[in-house]
Symmetry: C2
Subunit: 358 residues, 2 copies
């Protein structure tokens, strides 16, 4: 080790830092990335995932990788993330792949599917069953990379003002249920509507809508729906909603190899952590809801209603597969993977839960 | 940036590297850690978790953190990991906390418990419900740190030569089922035995034992038990077996802050990944088993047998809680956490799986 007094040492370190920032050895250069998230500032759970990711990346890189996060309050374009990251206006995004289905139809399949995989099944598909490679194929065409960005776990079927006893009860039912699940409901005669989050409580209270789905106890508690709707239906349409981290591909490739691995691992860990946080918060918040309003009635849709939803879903997916070879490739991959994975779920977690509750 | 020709630049970098290895700025020093794992060389899934962790740590640190892995073939002490890491003979270990219950009784509670939490419930407890802090309390007394090290998912109840129709069928049943679950079985009249892995197939084939539990399809397939025992029972005793990464605490604290975070994140990610790999491999291997031997009969234990197992388990845990205040604190924490978390599982994943299969 060189022997220097402290002031000389500091000066030498400064010189070295400059040298090491050169292409020969870029160890000390600071890389700054800007991330835009779809959510408002300090949105629970989803917003924790981006903060967790950025903190991990900064700590693991000793400050060489700094990620600043702009919420929708700042960038004003919650559904503009895809375009902004593609164009390089932002380096990264945190959003959900199915938001881009109007723009790039095959992005639909990388969030969750009605009657689809549970969270561990779907992570298995992403990481060991070819799902990530298919997502690379879809996003690669747009100079984008997409990775799992945190799972909400199984989403509840929603809050209903009246009980659904048969398919007749769905006729004309005004329900806030956006996206592909809304298409399924429309096939059964319901009237899906979309209403901004801030107006949902009043709309449900005043019966402007008869029902709505949001997420589950982790995020529903603060919305207060349990105070104004008596029925809480179990889920069918989003069994494992996975958010996404998006990155501008050229920007990612410009990072040194160690920072690429740090960034990928920070995203992967933050995604898993969000799944576990969602599970935790759902348990805590469901407990709080029941304590505040012990009369919440948890219901599952009747078998014939579920069968009709499933049939409508199958029909819609068959149309998509027939129209686009890549859609067919993705849907076949999911169906084949899920068949094996679900057979395991049946004899493991499901059998355990069935016998443990008796 | 300094302007130097290439040879001068290389020399300057070498001098800088020496300087930066000083305590003022230790960026380029290489830290080497030795890890001992309980498993044989290239053991599937469990051994992948250690390799995955070491590769992540090395790549994220640009080679500054190098972890070498010794399997039991090298160190010859599969159940000596606790002592070797405590003494500093190895810096890290990969094993399972419940192996140390004979030495430190409260290590029993950080792997899995009969009739206990599922994998997402238990990760919730570790990371958001105080479980990690309790593990710190137990291991901190021994200059050790322990972290989740990868989950096998729900383990199967085992392979049986004859069907279990009532409690009578457990009387005198010779079964390979080690550890705490073996104590539960003994209370019901079974004769738990332990037999080395290499002799299990022959023992079951020749009826030296009537039954055995191993893991589940992810690791059972290669053992071949499905060829010689007709009944495969669903699980009750290890709903979410979590392995452990152990570290010598002084060694960990001697690492720079960025490498500490890299190491913790590499372990956390590798643990989650092993859970997902186990899920994937279980699905794949269960599919292979059924194709090879379509007559495997999957059974769940009758309700009265499960009720008796549960009662015996409750009684044994009450004894442990009465004997040790820290055991009581841990068991109370788990019971309280599981109550809330399971209520959520019931209306989310379980309700979904119940309705989706119809």
């Amino acid at each position: 080790m060189l022997k220097l007094n402290f002031a000389k040492k500091l000066a030498a370190v400064a010189a070295c830092t400059a040298l090491l920032a050169s292409p020969l050895m870029a160890a000390e250069k600071v890389y700054r990335l800007k991330l835009a998230e779809t959510w408002p500032t300090n949105f629970p759970v989803f917003g924790d995932a981006t903060k967790n990711m950025a903190a991990l990346a900064e700590e693991m890189s000793a400050g060489r990788l700094k990620i600043t996060i702009d919420s929708k309050n700042k960038h004003k374009a919650p559904l503009g993330i895809f375009d902004m990251v593609r164009a390089g206006q932002y380096d990264m995004g945190h959003s959900a792949s199915y938001y881009w289905k109007g723009k790039v139809p095959n992005t639909l399949y990388f969030t969750t599917m009605p009657f689809g995989m549970t969270a561990p099944e779907q992570y298995g598909w992403f990481y060991y069953g070819g799902g990530q490679e298919l997502m690379d194929e879809v996003y690669g065409q747009f100079n984008l990379m997409s990775f799992p960005g945190g799972n909400t776990g199984n989403q509840m079927g929603g809050w209903f003002q009246k009980e659904i006893k048969s398919l007749d009860d769905l006729q004309g039912l005004k329900m806030r249920i956006p996206g592909f699940a809304g298409e399924v409901m429309a096939k059964l005669g319901a009237k899906p509507t979309n209403i901004p989050a801030g107006e949902l409580y009043t709309a449900l209270e005043r019966r402007t809508i008869d029902a709505l789905e949001w997420v589950g106890p982790s995020l529903d508690l603060r919305m207060g729906f349990h105070k104004i709707a008596p029925y809480y239906y179990t889920g069918w349409h989003e069994p494992a909603t996975e958010l996404q981290f998006m990155i501008n591909k050229k920007k990612f490739e410009s990072l040194p190899a160690d920072l690429q691995q740090i960034l990928k691992t920070a995203m992967r860990t933050a995604a898993y952590d969000m799944y576990i946080q969602s599970y935790n918060d759902s348990g805590e918040n469901w407990d709080s809801m029941k304590k505040e309003f012990p009369n919440i009635q948890v219901k599952s849709f009747p078998k014939d209603v579920v069968a009709a939803m499933r049939a409508a879903n199958t029909e819609l997916l068959a149309e998509k597969a027939a129209a686009d070879p890549l859609a067919k490739k993705i849907l076949d991959s999911q169906a084949e993977y899920m068949k094996k994975s679900r057979a395991w779920t049946e004899i493991s977690d499901k059998a355990y839960l069935d016998s443990a509750v008796n």
